[in-house]
Symmetry: C2
Subunit: 199 residues, 2 copies
DNA sequence: TATTTCAGCTTACACTTGTACGCTAATTTA
DNA sequence: TAAATTAGCGTACAAGTGTAAGCTGAAATA
């Protein structure tokens, strides 16, 4: 096996090992370099061949999670364009996402309010990206000013993420209830924003 | 000084010391018993005379922060009853609260998505209490079913807390903007819920 | 083929952590 | 006053941490 190839593979092992450690009980700041190395099957000091810090690994993980989030958005868009109702389809897709990518989403949630400014900013960037896309989408669907659309999008994203956080620690049944509730709440916002748009 | 009195005082020192350590960079799970003891001016082992665990201290801190939150609610109610506009007054009061009690609010925010199930549940209880009170209040002001009022209250609380999180790391100017935004978003929800109430 | 590069290893060190154990001195109780 | 209680302390230990230093063997390069 080529050297490059091997290195890339080990790096991937480290990343996967780290994600596997980020369950309900561990945050980024609570996993140690040695622990990650152990889970990745390498010596502690070999870690440095791939990342300067454990913080550098952390930022990489946030980026990866953000990537997954963007894939989610793309999927939701596709489903909507092939005839789904906007709110229902979006929420359903989101709920599927956090089921399939629990640790990635948990990472984003936790580090959003976490102890590292760098991590918080990294997560915020992902969320803002999410919000911007939604703003743009709203503008194509409702007759609203940009600023109203942005307010609406921001509120919606916050509610959806907040519902996602709840769903993350619920079983399938409860999760469906949460989904139904947030859908209704999103409709409140949609109607309300529309109201303020009219002269 | 009486023994009881002295003990209560030391306990308070421990609690204050812990709060002072919970700044932007530290979460409950990241402060060590020894650190708290050091900051409180006692020997590490003396800590055990007051708390079984550092987790027991953590729950105490969450309770204290929740208490502060309830005081905030009472103050908002008073201001509204003496003639303030509901949404504006509530948001303004909330923003004052997180300015004056930054570390307490930060604790609630962090542990809400934190690594300890016990802490998450403790915080959730406080937020639910908040939501219930708001639901009740909405019912006295708007003509809505209980379930619609509850949906509305839940959405509002989530947006306010979310805005609080943002405000926590902003200066006074930005904080005011955040306040203005969330006020508008709350009006969306209010209008939207009202819409769905009509036959 | 001879040389250089470098991913991964072992060893080592100085720290920090939680907490068990037993002592002291002052307050409380009898 | 004599005895009991107890808040707080000092010492000690095992376990974990990050990371510096230097080695090895195989792949890449010349």
């Amino acid at each position: 096996m080529s050297r490059q190839e091997q290195k890339r593979k080990t790096r991937e092992n480290i990343i996967n090992a780290a994600f596997s450690l980020l369950d309900e009980q561990r945050s980024l700041s609570a996993i140690s370099l040695r622990e990650v190395a152990r889970a990745a099957g390498i010596a502690p000091t070999s870690f440095y061949r791939h990342f300067k810090d454990i913080d550098e690994l952390g930022l990489t993980l946030v980026d990866e999670a953000g990537l997954a989030l963007r894939q989610l958005m793309r999927q939701a868009r596709l489903r909507i364009e092939s005839g789904g109702r906007v709110i229902d389809t979006s929420v359903d897709t989101f709920m599927e996402f956090i089921t399939a990518n629990a640790n990635e989403f948990r990472l984003l949630l936790r580090e959003h309010t976490g102890t590292s400014m760098a991590f918080r900013k990294a997560v915020l960037r992902e969320i803002q990206h999410f919000t911007e896309e939604l703003t743009h989408y709203i503008l194509t669907r409702q007759k609203l000013s940009t600023s109203l659309a942005n307010l609406q999008a921001e509120a919606m994203v916050k509610l959806v993420f907040s519902a996602g956080a709840e769903a993350l620690e619920s079983d399938a049944h409860k999760r469906q209830q949460i989904g139904a509730r947030v859908k209704q709440q999103l409709r409140f916002i949609q109607r309300g924003a529309q109201f303020y748009a009219e002269p």
